[in-house]
């Protein structure tokens, strides 16, 4: 078990290295590369000045040297310096992590609390109106564009009924958190409900459930002891994988609600053509996603006694 945990944690390193390489190459090699963009945005036309800027940002060195230097800095927790603002990327990003995490985890909590029971009961009551209604709701939840749902919620709860603030972070209070996290949570709730329903149906068709029924165990006991536990293992893996879906969507929700998180920093930096900040945001967002998956995998090892990890 301990060996498995160590191995799983060590696997994290090559993945994040590969992602950093892909992102670095993508953002620095393609036609409109980082340096040209930054200079363009500074309206620097003077060739001497361009040379000077290149030297200051280390852009005069060959690409692989730049990547290695980038990695070296990364290992020291240094994400580089913004081309436009001159600030440390690390500091810019650090200030935005907490609002994004708060938003994402609240949305996830909403989804887990609503989605899993919904999927569970509709699977148990297959074919009834409850099942139909919740599955229609789930496919709608997956299909609804979040920025539109957010606009509607904003219109009804902030403009019409004036119950909640329309946007912004406030002083970090709950009132400001409700609309963005509900907007973000709806799609994930729908996904979890669908996944749970499919998982429960799969478990219900297994031999051990048939055996349990044949033994004469009560439905309640079967559901609680056999179905629920076996389903949760399946649901947890998918939930972890689909957390990426949620993290990706924070960008839209943050932009819509003027939420001061990583997503809005990312979009702003793309518009300002500030490559180091863009790169830093992307790397941190993906790392959060990978860390959640890692946590799920480790949790999985505790919950599921069947799998051997040696």
């Amino acid at each position: 078990m301990f060996a498995y945990a160590v191995r799983r944690i060590l696997q994290f390193i090559p993945t994040i290295l590969a992602i950093s390489l892909i992102m670095f190459m993508l953002l620095n090699v393609l036609p409109g590369n980082a340096a040209m963009m930054a200079m363009d945005s500074r309206k620097a036309k003077d060739p001497e000045m361009i040379e000077q800027l290149k030297k200051r940002w280390g852009l005069d060195k060959p690409l692989y040297v730049r990547y290695l230097l980038y990695l070296k800095d990364l290992a020291h927790g240094d994400l580089g310096r913004s081309f436009i603002r001159g600030d440390e990327v690390g500091a810019l990003v650090a200030a935005r992590i907490w609002p994004t995490l708060k938003l994402a985890f609240t949305a996830m909590a909403i989804a887990v609390i609503l989605g899993i029971p919904l999927g569970f009961f509709s699977a148990l009551k297959q074919g009834t109106w409850l099942d139909t209604a919740s599955m229609v709701g789930a496919v709608s939840g997956v299909s609804v564009p979040q920025f539109w749902l957010g606009l509607l919620l904003m219109y009804f709860f902030a403009v019409q009924f004036r119950l909640l603030p329309p946007s912004g972070y406030g002083d970090g209070d709950i009132a400001h958190l409700i609309l963005p996290s509900v907007t973000l949570g709806v799609g994930y709730t729908a996904l979890l409900a669908r996944t749970t329903r499919a998982a429960v149906i799969e478990v219900l068709n297994t031999d051990y459930i048939r055996t349990a029924r044949a033994k004469g165990l009560s439905e309640l006991l079967i559901n609680r002891k056999h179905v629920l536990r076996n389903t949760l293992i399946l649901v947890m893996t998918t939930a972890g994988l689909q957390f990426g879906f949620l993290i990706g969507q924070t960008v839209i929700v943050e932009k819509l609600f003027s939420w001061p998180g990583l997503g809005s920093l990312l979009v702003d930096s793309i518009f300002m053509r500030d490559i180091p900040v863009t790169q830093g945001c992307i790397l941190v967002i993906i790392s959060v996603f990978l860390l959640v998956n890692l946590a799920v995998d480790l949790l999985y090892a505790f919950v599921d006694p069947r799998i051997e990890y040696s």
Binding site: S143, P145, F147, L151, M154, V251, I252, V267, I286
Partner: protein
């Protein structure tokens, strides 16, 4: 054939989804005949922010353009994005998956490694990274989204190939002396088209949602071209005075994506009852 018709009849989701998809296609193809006004040129500031009613059934936007006409024309962008991006995604995914499953060895390891890395990057984030370099614009959206979601078709193709590879008809083809490329494309591919088609249909819905999101953020289709996501990007400022600007384009995205998802689900129930959808944009 009769069997197929019976199967389709029993599937409400396939029917509803198919009807919705057909309506969107009709809207896109016949937009100039269906739209009462021109989506861009018929701007009239005299009719700025008119509420829904006669003659503007969905109201007008800030520049006095008819929202209904813009929604009808917007179907063209969404459909084009959905189809072109998904053709790109599916081609990349199928070729990589087919060769990985068939040749195996180091190529398989490489492709699977790449697929797993792609799966660990949220699609919207990857698309944003590409847009950051290419800059805003519709053509760049095609490229960005076409390179974003191929991992799903790659995985499904590979797993299907691994299963099919050992079947008798493939062995027979080998015994007959068919070349490897010929076996791949004439023997294996036609037999695994079902699951690939399901993933592709659901992918069209994802691509439409992603384009709408990029346009909403201001990185996708640029104004004044009418795209559903783009129409919503400026709608927030007018939410207090003209909420209808926000309602109709979003409804169009929602219904279209819902239709495609229902259609994809129905198709999956018929074509391959065993796979479930895992991970989504």
């Amino acid at each position: 054939m009769k069997n197929l018709i019976r199967k389709i009849k029993g599937r409400t989701n396939l029917m509803i989804g198919g009807i919705i998809a057909a309506i969107v296609v009709v809207m896109a193809v016949f937009a100039p005949f269906l739209a009462p006004y021109h989506p861009v040129n018929d701007a009239n500031l005299m009719f700025s922010e008119e509420p829904p009613g006669d003659p503007f059934w969905m109201g007008t936007d800030q520049q006095g353009r008819d929202i209904l006409s813009r929604v009808i024309y917007g179907a063209r962008i969404s459909l084009a994005v959905g189809l072109i991006c998904q053709i790109l995604n599916t081609s990349i995914g199928v070729i990589l998956g087919l060769t990985a499953g068939f040749f195996g060895k180091w190529w398989d390891d490489l492709v699977m490694g790449l697929t797993n890395i792609m799966l660990s990057i949220p699609p919207l984030i990857f698309a944003l990274a590409i847009m950051a370099i290419l800059g805003p614009g519709l053509v760049n959206v095609f490229l960005a989204l076409g390179l974003t979601n191929w991992s799903f078709s790659c995985r499904i193709t590979r797993s299907q190939v691994l299963f099919t590879r050992g079947l008798d008809y493939v062995k027979a083809a080998k015994a007959l002396g068919y070349g490897r490329i010929r076996i791949m494309f004439t023997q294996i591919l036609p037999n695994i088209v079902g699951p690939i088609l399901v993933v592709a249909t659901l992918g069209v819905a994802d691509a439409i949602l992603l384009e709408a999101a990029l346009s909403f953020l201001g990185l996708g289709t640029q104004p004044p071209t009418p795209s559903w996501g783009g129409m919503l990007s400026s709608a927030r400022e007018q939410l207090f005075t003209a909420p209808w600007i926000s309602i109709f384009p979003g409804l169009a995205i929602f219904i279209t994506v819902l239709g495609l998802n229902l259609f994809g689900d129905g198709l999956r129930d018929i074509l391959d009852p065993h796979t479930t959808r895992s991970g989504k944009a």
